[in-house]
Homo-oligomer: 208 residues x 2
């Protein structure tokens, strides 16, 4: 029997194009029968290794201006709400830690979509604990318990390990998608190609 | 009567993703009834304005490795031949000047496709006069006359002016597409969106 196809979805909460990817990946994967793993990580250490202490969209303003306009168009085409947040990039550390805890407990995906919607749909600051708490509350989670767990050493270490794994996989931006054989796809635009690759692998597996 | 939709296709011969864009843009535009203007320009001065003296794919090797693999996949999906050229980025100055002359004389588009095919399909060096001459000869052009014309002050100035225009339009990479109302789209992935935008403008024009 062929393995069921799977795809790792690597994302960083501060990443703009991760927003449309996060909002559309689940139904696309479901329709193709691909199992997803949601893998939050931090771009900061990866950018620093490339010599950047800020988002390249801020370092290169002409590219940044284009990105915001393009993101608005991409969201418009997908019917996603879009508001450019007043500050960029935002601090997604707490959200990433909470997501890691939530993904192990079954409410992580909905939390991730909630964080992206708060930031790029409503233009809120996800670095504010109140924003993260609001998303948790909307999911019916015990806000205080979730935020406390997110500060545990286990979660902190898990996020650090996940970021190191992303770097080992050759990930340099977000969103990225990695198939079971290590094939890397970068950008919201490559989601369909990544799903196709995952499926073709699983078919080849079935022919062995 | 509505204006016929048009789209400016801005490309640089050294640009990797301009290759698939150049090979597929004409039939796509034709099928949608969009008039194309092929606009060669030089990325060098634009990159220098951003503080780069080399391609970002060389400055950031992890991104460069990904790009070559991704380009191979993109070309594979389109059925385009692909060979990574031994050197990158190549010097596309002569080719751009010849293209500018050829576009005014009706053989420019085929020349542009020939240059891209030589570089990224066959892995040849388009900075070599022999490569440019070979593409010209395959089109039945008078090689010597075309190369001489490309060195004229008129053509040199026209290419310089075109590069300055690209910069004024906010272009920071290639391929780029610009509609009649100045909307900018960057990357081979955005070709369809740019054509759609050009069409929607022309429809709105028709409703005035």
């Amino acid at each position: 029997m062929p393995d069921r196809p799977r795809l790792d979805f690597w994302f960083e909460f501060a990443s703009t194009y991760s927003y449309p990817a996060a909002m559309r990946i689940a139904p696309l994967a479901e329709a193709r029968g691909v199992d997803l793993r949601w893998r939050p990580f931090l771009l900061g250490p990866i950018f620093r290794a490339q010599g950047w202490d800020n988002s390249p969209f801020n370092i290169y303003p002409v590219k940044g201006r284009y990105m915001w306009r393009d993101l608005e168009r991409v969201c418009g085409a997908l019917g996603l709400p879009f508001t450019q947040p007043p500050s960029f990039p935002q601090n997604g550390l707490t959200a990433a830690r909470v997501a890691l805890a939530g993904l192990a407990q079954g409410w992580g995906e909905e939390f991730c979509r909630g964080i992206y919607r708060a930031q790029f749909g409503d233009g809120r600051d996800i670095g504010e604990p109140a924003t993260v708490a609001g998303v948790l509350a909307a999911l019916g989670q015990d806000t205080e318990a979730a935020l406390k767990q997110a500060q545990s050493d286990a979660i902190k270490n898990a996020l650090r390990a996940q970021t190191e794994e992303a770097q080992r996989l050759g990930i340099f931006g977000a969103p990225s998608f990695v198939t079971a054989d290590g094939e890397l796809f970068w950008g919201n635009d490559r989601l369909e190609a990544a799903l196709d690759w995952a499926l073709s692998l699983s078919r080849r597996g079935g022919e062995r």
